[in-house]
C-alpha cells in the first residue's frame, strides 16, 4: 500500500514536471502567448456579453436603420436597426461555445471509440474501424447539413451536428496510440494485479493519451468554429434573433457597397478567433510533442 502511494506520488510529480515544462516552452513563444491572451479576452467577452454590449442583441433602434458607424452605434446598425457591435459581442458566445461544446462531444465519442478499438482489437476493432470509415466518407460540411436537416436548426443542434461529424479523426489517433500503449509492461502488471478492462482503459491508457487529446482538440476547435459560421452563413445553423458571425456576414453581404462594415467587422472577429486558436494549437503541439514539430 505504501509502495503504491509512493508510486502515485512520484507519478504526480513527474506529470506536473511535464506540464510545467510544456508551459515553460509555451511561454517562450510570443505568438502563442498573444493568441492565448486573445482567446482569454474572447472568453471574457462571451461571459460578460450583456454587460459589455451597449445594446441587447435583439434591440431594434428603428430611428437608425442601416446606419454607418456613429457615436451611438460604434459599428453601425443592420436592416432592423440592431447594433452591429452588440451583435458581434453576442456572436462570440455562439462561436466559442460551438468550439468548446461540439469539440467535447466529438472528443468523448472519438476517445471512447478509439480506445475500445485499440484495446480490444479483433472484431471490435474491425467493426469500429469500419464505422469510422463510414462516418468519414461524408464531406464534413455536407454531413453536418444533412444532420441539421434531421434535428432542425438552432444553437444546441449545431453543437450536436458538428460534434457528430468531427469525432473520426480523434478516434483514429487514439486507436493507433492505444494499440502501442497496451503493449507496455504496466498494462501487463495491472492485468496481473487483477485490474479489469474498464480500469485499465480509463485509469492507465486514456490518461496517457492526454497530450494527443489536447493537441487534437485545440486543432479541431477553430475548424468547428468555421463549420458553425459556414452552416449559419448557409442559413442552416443558428437562427435570428440569436447572433452568429456567419449569419451576420450572410445578411450583411447584401449591403457590402453601402455599408461595408456590416460584413467587415464580423469577418475580422471570425478570422482573428480562428487564427488565435490555430496558432495556439501549433504552439501546443510543438510543446507537447516534439516529434510532430514543423521545420522552421
Amino acid at each position: 500500500m505504501e509502495a503504491q502511494n509512493a508510486l502515485s506520488q512520484e507519478q504526480v510529480i513527474t506529470s506536473t514536471n511535464f506540464y510545467h515544462h510544456v508551459w515553460e516552452k509555451l511561454r517562450e513563444n510570443k505568438v502563442a502567448i498573444v493568441s492565448l491572451l486573445l482567446i482569454l479576452l474572447l472568453i471574457v467577452v462571451a461571459l460578460f456579453a450583456p454587460q459589455i454590449a451597449p445594446y441587447d442583441e435583439g434591440f431594434q433602434d428603428t430611428a437608425h436603420v442601416l446606419s454607418k458607424p456613429t457615436n451611438i452605434h460604434w459599428l453601425g446598425t443592420d436592416e432592423f436597426g440592431r447594433d452591429i457591435f452588440s451583435r458581434i459581442i453576442y456572436g462570440t458566445r455562439v462561436s466559442l461555445s460551438v468550439g468548446i461544446i461540439a469539440e467535447l462531444i466529438a472528443m468523448t465519442i472519438g476517445v471512447l471509440m478509439g480506445a475500445l478499438a485499440g484495446y480490444f482489437g479483433g472484431w471490435v476493432d474491425s467493426l469500429i474501424s469500419r464505422i469510422i470509415e463510414i462516418f468519414g466518407s461524408f464531406p464534413k460540411i455536407l454531413f453536418a447539413i444533412v444532420i441539421m436537416n434531421i434535428i432542425g436548426t438552432g444553437v444546441i443542434n449545431v453543437f450536436i451536428a458538428i460534434g457528430m461529424v468531427g469525432w473520426t479523426g480523434m478516434a483514429r489517433m487514439i486507436r493507433s496510440q492505444i494499440l502501442q500503449l497496451k503493449e507496455n509492461e504496466y498494462v501487463e502488471a495491472a492485468h496481473s494485479f487483477g485490474a479489469g478492462n474498464t480500469h485499465i482503459i480509463f485509469k492507465h491508457l486514456i490518461p496517457n493519451t492526454l497530450s494527443t487529446i489536447i493537441v487534437n482538440m485545440t486543432m479541431a476547435i477553430p475548424q468547428d468554429i468555421m463549420y458553425e459560421a459556414s452552416l449559419s452563413f448557409l442559413g442552416l445553423g443558428v437562427q435570428p434573433p440569436t447572433s452568429s458571425w456567419g449569419q451576420i456576414i450572410s445578411v450583411g453581404r447584401v449591403y457590402i457597397s453601402t455599408l461595408p462594415g456590416y460584413v467587415l467587422f464580423p469577418s475580422i472577429a471570425l478570422v482573428l478567433t480562428v487564427l488565435a486558436f490555430n496558432l495556439l494549437g501549433d504552439a501546443l503541439r510543438d510543446a507537447l510533442d516534439p516529434r510532430l514539430r514543423r521545420m522552421d
Binding site: R130, I131, E133, I134, F135, G136, S137, F138, P139, K140, I141, L142, F143, I145, V146, I147, M148, N149, I150, G152, P222, M226, A229, S230, F233, L234, G235, L236, G246, I249, R253, I256, S257, V263, S267, L270, V271, V274, L275, N278, L279, R294, M295
Partner: protein, 310 residues
C-alpha cells in the same frame, strides 16, 4: 500486393454498404414526408396516401431500402419533387460544375502552392519566407465564403472584370476557383516548404551539388520529386474537401454545383435529391480513399507487406 488489394476491396465493399445504410437512415428519419410537404394545403388523407403509394413510401423500411439500393445501382432516383426534372440529370449537372471547379482549384493550388513553397524554402528565414508563411497562416484561418465575398466585391462589383455570379461563360469559374484555390495553396505551400527543406538537407543533395549539377535542376528534379508524395496525399484529401466545401463558394457565386443542389433540396425537403446527392458523394469519397490507399501500397512496400502479413 494482391492480398493487400483484395482485403482493401472487401473493406471498401463493407464501407459502401454501410454508407448506403447510413444515408437511407438519415434521409428517412428526417421529419416531414414528401406528401405532407407537397400537399401542404391539402388535408385530404386519401390524396396524401395516394402520393405516398406512388413514391413507395407506404412500404416497410427494408423494402424501401432495397428500392433505394436498386435506384442507386441503376442510376435512377426518379423525378425531383419540385424541380420536375429527373434527379439523375440534376445530379450529373451538379457534379459537372463542382467537378470542373475541383480540377481548376487543384491546378491553381498546385501551381501557386508549389511556387510559393519552393520560394519560401530557398529564402528560409528571410523576408519572402516570412511573407509567404504569414500569408499561408492567414489563408488557413480564412473561411472560403469570406474570401469569396471579398473577391466578388473587388473583381466583380468594383472593377467589373469578372462576372458577379452565374455560369454563362467559362469566366464564371474564375473567381470561385481562385477563392478556393488560394486557400488550398496555403496548405500546399506549407507542405512544399517543409519537404523541400527536408530534402535540401539530405546528403545526396550535397552529392548532386558536388557533381556540378545546376541548382535549378537539383531543386526541380530531386527536391520536388521528394516533396511530391505528401502533396499528392494532401491533394487527394483536398479533392474530397472541395466536393463538400464548394457549397459555400457555390452559394456566394450562384453556381448550380452539387453542394448547392443538396442545400436547396434540404430547404425544400426534396428527398430523392437528398438521397441521391448524399450517397453518390459518399461513394466518390470511398473510392478516392481506396485510390489513395492503393497508390500508397504501390509506392510504399511497408504498407502492403504489413497488410499481407495480417
Amino acid at each position: 500486393m494482391k492480398k493487400y488489394i483484395r482485403s482493401r476491396l472487401i473493406q471498401t465493399l463493407v464501407v459502401l454498404i454501410g454508407v448506403t445504410l447510413l444515408t437511407f437512415i438519415m434521409v428517412n428519419v428526417a421529419p416531414g414526408d414528401a406528401a405532407t410537404v407537397m400537399t401542404e394545403k391539402i388535408t385530404d388523407q386519401a390524396a396524401i396516401d395516394r402520393i405516398n403509394a406512388q413514391l413507395g413510401l407506404d412500404k416497410p423500411y427494408f423494402v424501401q431500402y432495397f428500392l433505394f439500393l436498386r435506384n442507386l445501382v441503376f442510376f435512377d432516383f426518379g423525378t425531383s419533387y419540385f424541380k420536375y426534372k429527373p434527379v439523375m440529370q440534376l445530379i450529373i449537372e451538379g457534379f459537372r460544375v463542382t467537378g470542373t471547379l475541383a480540377v481548376t482549384i487543384i491546378l491553381f493550388a498546385l501551381v501557386v502552392g508549389l511556387a510559393m513553397g519552393i520560394m519560401a524554402a530557398l529564402n528560409r528565414g528571410k523576408f519572402w519566407d516570412q511573407l509567404i508563411m504569414g500569408l499561408s497562416t492567414l489563408g488557413m484561418a480564412l473561411p472560403s465564403f469570406l474570401l469569396a465575398i471579398l473577391l466578388q466585391y473587388i473583381f466583380g462589383l468594383k472593377m467589373q472584370l469578372l462576372p458577379l455570379s452565374g455560369l454563362t461563360s467559362w469566366q464564371g469559374y474564375v473567381l470561385p476557383s481562385v477563392t478556393m484555390g488560394m486557400i488550398c495553396a496555403a496548405e500546399v505551400a506549407r507542405l512544399t516548404r517543409t519537404s523541400m527543406l527536408d530534402v535540401l538537407g539530405q546528403d545526396y543533395m550535397r552529392t548532386a551539388t558536388a557533381k556540378g549539377i545546376s541548382r535549378q535542376r537539383i531543386i526541380l528534379v530531386h527536391g520536388l520529386k521528394n516533396a511530391l508524395i505528401p502533396i499528392l496525399t494532401f491533394l487527394g484529401n483536398s479533392f474530397k474537401a472541395i466536393l463538400g466545401g464548394a457549397v459555400l463558394v457555390e452559394t456566394v457565386f450562384g453556381l448550380n454545383g452539387i453542394g448547392r443542389l443538396l442545400v436547396d433540396a434540404i430547404m425544400q425537403r426534396d428527398t430523392p435529391i437528398i438521397q441521391g446527392v448524399t450517397v453518390y458523394i459518399a461513394m466518390i469519397f470511398v473510392l478516392v480513399n481506396l485510390g489513395i490507399d492503393l497508390f500508397y501500397g504501390l509506392i510504399d512496400p511497408r504498407i502492403r507487406l504489413a497488410k499481407d502479413n495480417d
